[in-house]
Amino acid sequence: MHDMVPDVTARPPAQAEGRLVRLSAARPGDRGVILEVRAEAHPSPARSRAGAPLASRSARKGGGTDHGVDVHELQRRLLEFGFVEGARIEVLHEGAIRRDPIAIRLDEMRVALRRRDAEDVWVLLDK
C-alpha cells in the first residue's frame, strides 16, 4: 500500500507535526491554521518531482505556475473563497488518481480544490 503513495505527497506524518507545509502537500487527517496565502510563481519542489509532463509544462511557461490565471488572480480567488490567514483547515478526502483533488474543511465550510492550485497556501500543522 505504501509504495503506491506518489512522490508528490509522500511524507512521514510524524515529522510533519508542528511544521509549516504547503496545503498542496497535506494529507487527509492533517489539520492546522493557514499562516500565509502567497502569490508566487514557482515550480515547487513537489511539482518538479512529479514527473516529466508537469515539469515540462511549467518549464514551458518560464518556470511559472500553471493555473490558467496569473498568481495574483489565483490568490484573490483563494482569499475570496475563505483561504485567509488564520482560517482553520483540515484535509478530509483526496481523489483516487494521484491523490488529487483534495476536499478540505475550511472553518465551517467544505471546499474542494486541486493540489496545484493549493501550493501557495501555507499551513502550520497542529502539534
Partner: protein, 625 residues
C-alpha cells in the same frame, strides 16, 4: 415618492452565494408567476417573477446568478455585478437588493455583504435555511447583526415558505421610505482589501453568532462514503447506470407512445385529406417535425429530474470532485462533467449547461466535444442498423452481441470526446485549465415542489428553444426532399427527383470509399435536421410502405440492399457525424459566432469520414463486403 412612481412595480434583485437556497426563495416568492429569458446580448439565463405584497404593491423579482464576489469571472457573474451596479444594458437598476444567505454558513456571505454595502443600494438580508440553523443550535443575534451591517434582516425557510411575507414587508418598507441608492463606492478589491474584509466579517461573526451546539455531522459521514476514492467512484457509476436505465427504459416507452400518437395523427390526416402536396406537408413536414422534437421530452425530463435531484441534494459538486482528475487528464474542467452528462440525452441542454464553467476556453472545449456524447437521437438509428446487421447472439453465455455493439458505440463516443478535448488542449490552447475551487455544500433533502418546478422549467425551455430551431429546419428539409416533384411516369420514389435526391447523386462518388450508396446520402440530407429523421428518410428512399416506419420491415430491406461493411460504416459515421443542425444553431447562439459551429461541423465531418473509411475498409478486408 408620489404619483406615478409609487404605482410602478418595485424592483428587487436576489443576490447571494451559490447553494444559499436563492432559487428556492425565488420560487417561494413568485410561485408560478415567473418568466425565463436571456439577458440582452449574452447567453446568461434571466429569471424574473412577480409578487404582490399584502398591501397590493406589485414587486418584480430578479434572480441573479450566484456569486462569491462582485469581482466577476464568468459571464454569469458579470451579469450579477452589472445588475447590482445598475449598469446592465436594458435593465433598470433594482430598488432594493435582497441578499440571500445560508444561515448555517455565514462567513463568505458576510464578506459579499460588505462588498454590496459599498454599492450603496438599499438592502435586506434574508437568512435562509433558518430552520436548519435552529436545529443545529446556532445562535444568531439578529438585532446586533442588523445594526452591524446596517440593513434589516429577515429569517426565511424558502422550502416551507416561511418568512416570505416578512421579507416582502421589509422590501416594501424600504421602498415606501423612499430609500434611494447612494453613489456606488464599489471597485474591484485588491488582495489586501479582501483580507481586511474577511477580518471584518470574522469580527462581526464572532460578536453576533455563536457556533452551533449540534453541528452537522451527517454531511461528514455521508462524504466518508461518497468521496471515498474507490467506493465513491463505484457509487457514482452506479448512479449513472440507474440514470441511463431510467432515461432509456422509462423515457423511451413514453417517447415511443408519443411518437405513435403523432404517427397516428399523421395517418388520420392522410386518410381524411386527398393525396397531395398539402397533405404531405402537414403529415411529413409539420406533424413529424413537431413530433421529432416532442418524442425527446420524456427523456429530457427524466434526465433533468435526476440532475436537479442530485444537484439539490448536494451531490453534483461531489461528482465533479470525483471526476475532476479523470476529466482533467483530457484537459476538461471537473464542472464539464454535468454538461457532458446532459449531452447523453441531447447535446442542446448539455451545451446550454456549459454556462457553469467560468473560463472561456474550458467552456469552448466542453461545447466542442459535447455532441460526441451519444445523444438519444442516435438510438433509433443505432437500433435499426444493429438489428439489421448484427446477429442477436449470446457471447460467453451472458452477453448479447447486439447490446455489446451498442455499448461499444457509446464507449467510442466518450473516448473520442476525451481524445478531441485532449488534442484541443494540447495543440490549440496550450494553457492550463482554470483553478478548480468549489464549495462542497452540506447535504440537504431535496424539496419535492422545487424539484418539480425546475424539471418542468427545463422541459419548457427545451421545447421552446429546440422547437423554434427544429421546426423551421424540418420545413426546409421537407421542401428540399419534395421539390421539384417526380415527373409524370416516374418509377422510383419521388425523393429521387427532388433537390435532395440530386445532391445525393451528385456527391455520392465522394462517399464511395466508405461504402455509402446514393440512397444513404439522400437519407442523410433530411437526417441533418435531426439524426433520427434519417430512419424515416431511409424508409422513404427504399419506399418501405410510405408513412409506415416499422423498424423490423425497414431493417429487413436494408439487410438486403447493404453489405455488412456498409452497415458498420454507417454506424461508425453516425458516432461522429455532425448530423444535427439544431446543435450547430445552439452553438452559434452560445458562442455568439459562426466560427465555432463551423469548426465543430468540419472536425466532426472529418472524423466521421475517417472512422467510416477505416471501418469499411477493414470490414471489406475481413470479407464482410
Amino acid at each position: 415618492m408620489t404619483g406615478a412612481s409609487a404605482m410602478a412595480p418595485a424592483r428587487i434583485a436576489l443576490v447571494g452565494n451559490p447553494n444559499s437556497g436563492k432559487t428556492a426563495l425565488f420560487n417561494a416568492l413568485t410561485g408560478s408567476r415567473q418568466k425565463v429569458a436571456n439577458y440582452a446580448g449574452v447567453t446568461v439565463e434571466r429569471k424574473e417573477g412577480q409578487v404582490v405584497s399584502a398591501s397590493g404593491r406589485a414587486i418584480s423579482v430578479l434572480d441573479l446568478p450566484g456569486t462569491y464576489s462582485l469581482r466577476a469571472r464568468s459571464p454569469d457573474e458579470v451579469v450579477t455585478r452589472d445588475a447590482v451596479l445598475g449598469k446592465l444594458a436594458g435593465e433598470q437598476a433594482p430598488d432594493v437588493l435582497v441578499c440571500v444567505a445560508d444561515a448555517t454558513n455565514l462567513r463568505l456571505v458576510l464578506r459579499l455583504i460588505l462588498e454590496l454595502k459599498a454599492v450603496g443600494r438599499p438592502m435586506v438580508l434574508a437568512l435562509n435555511m433558518y430552520d436548519i440553523a435552529q436545529r443545529q443550535g446556532l445562535r444568531i443575534d439578529l438585532a446586533g447583526l442588523a445594526r452591524e451591517i446596517g440593513c434589516p434582516i429577515v429569517t426565511t425557510v424558502a422550502t416551507r415558505k416561511r418568512g416570505i411575507d416578512d421579507l416582502v414587508g421589509q422590501v416594501e418598507r424600504l421602498v415606501a421610505a423612499g430609500a434611494v441608492g447612494a453613489e456606488s463606492a464599489w471597485r474591484e478589491p485588491a488582495a489586501g482589501e479582501i483580507r481586511d474584509a474577511h477580518r471584518e466579517a470574522q469580527r462581526i461573526l464572532k460578536a453576533h453568532v455563536k457556533p452551533p451546539e449540534r453541528p452537522d455531522t451527517f454531511t461528514g459521514k455521508v462524504d466518508a462514503v461518497l468521496l471515498h476514492p474507490a467506493a465513491g467512484l463505484v457509487i457514482l457509476l452506479g448512479l449513472l447506470f440507474v440514470m441511463f436505465q431510467a432515461v432509456f427504459s422509462w423515457g423511451k416507452v413514453v417517447g415511443d407512445l408519443i411518437g405513435d400518437g403523432f404517427t397516428a395523427a399523421a395517418g388520420l390526416i392522410a386518410a381524411q385529406l386527398p393525396h397531395g402536396l398539402i397533405t404531405s406537408f402537414l403529415t411529413d413536414g409539420v406533424i413529424s417535425g413537431v413530433g421529432s422534437v416532442i418524442v425527446f421530452l420524456p427523456q429530457i425530463l427524466i434526465l433533468f429530474f435526476f440532475i436537479i435531484l442530485l444537484e439539490d441534494f448536494g451531490y453534483m459538486a461531489r461528482a465533479a470532485f470525483l471526476m475532476d482528475r479523470i476529466m482533467g487528464g483530457a484537459g476538461l474542467h471537473g464542472r464539464a462533467f454535468i454538461p457532458l452528462l446532459s449531452s447523453f440525452a441531447c447535446a442542446i441542454p448539455g451545451i446550454m449547461a456549459t454556462r457553469v464553467i467560468d473560463n472561456k476556453r474550458d467552456r469552448l472545449t466542453t461545447i466542442l466535444v459535447a455532441p460526441l456524447m451519444t445523444c438519444s437521437a442516435r438510438i433509433p438509428v443505432y437500433t435499426l442498423i444493429i438489428s439489421a446487421f448484427i446477429p442477436s447472439r449470446m457471447l460467453w453465455g451472458f452477453v448479447n452481441q447486439q447490446g455489446l455493439v451498442m455499448f461499444g458505440l457509446y464507449a467510442a463516443g466518450i473516448a473520442s470526446a476525451l481524445a478531441v478535448s485532449f488534442v484541443t488542449r494540447r495543440v490549440f490552447w496550450r494553457g492550463a485549465v482554470e483553478p478548480f475551487l468549489m464549495e462542497l455544500p452540506a447535504y440537504k433533502i431535496p424539496d419535492a415542489e422545487n424539484v418539480a418546478r425546475n424539471v418542468l422549467l427545463r422541459g419548457k425551455i427545451f421545447l421552446t428553444r429546440a422547437g423554434t430551431i427544429i421546426f423551421p429546419l424540418m420545413i426546409a428539409v421537407w421542401l428540399l426532399s419534395n421539390f421539384p416533384g417526380a415527373p409524370a411516369g416516374a418509377t422510383g420514389p419521388a425523393i429521387n427527383y427532388s433537390v435532395a435526391g440530386r445532391i445525393g447523386h451528385f456527391i455520392q462518388p465522394a462517399f464511395a470509399p466508405i461504402g455509402f450508396n446514393w440512397q444513404m446520402i439522400v437519407a442523410l440530407i433530411p437526417g441533418f435536421a435531426a439524426r433520427e429523421v434519417a430512419v424515416a428518410a431511409l424508409g422513404t428512399v427504399y419506399a418501405v410502405g410510405s408513412g409506415d416506419t416499422s423498424p423490423a420491415l425497414l431493417g429487413h430491406t436494408l439487410a438486403q440492399h447493404w453489405s455488412v461493411a456498409t452497415g458498420l460504416a454507417f454506424l461508425a459515421w453516425y458516432v461522429f457525424a455532425p448530423q444535427c443542425a439544431s446543435t450547430l444553431g445552439v452553438v452559434k447562439r452560445e458562442t455568439n459566432s459562426w466560427l465555432w459551429p463551423g469548426v465543430m461541423f468540419a472536425y466532426m465531418l472529418a472524423m466521421a469520414y475517417v472512422a467510416a473509411l477505416i471501418t469499411y475498409q477493414i470490414a471489406i478486408a475481413l470479407g464482410a463486403g
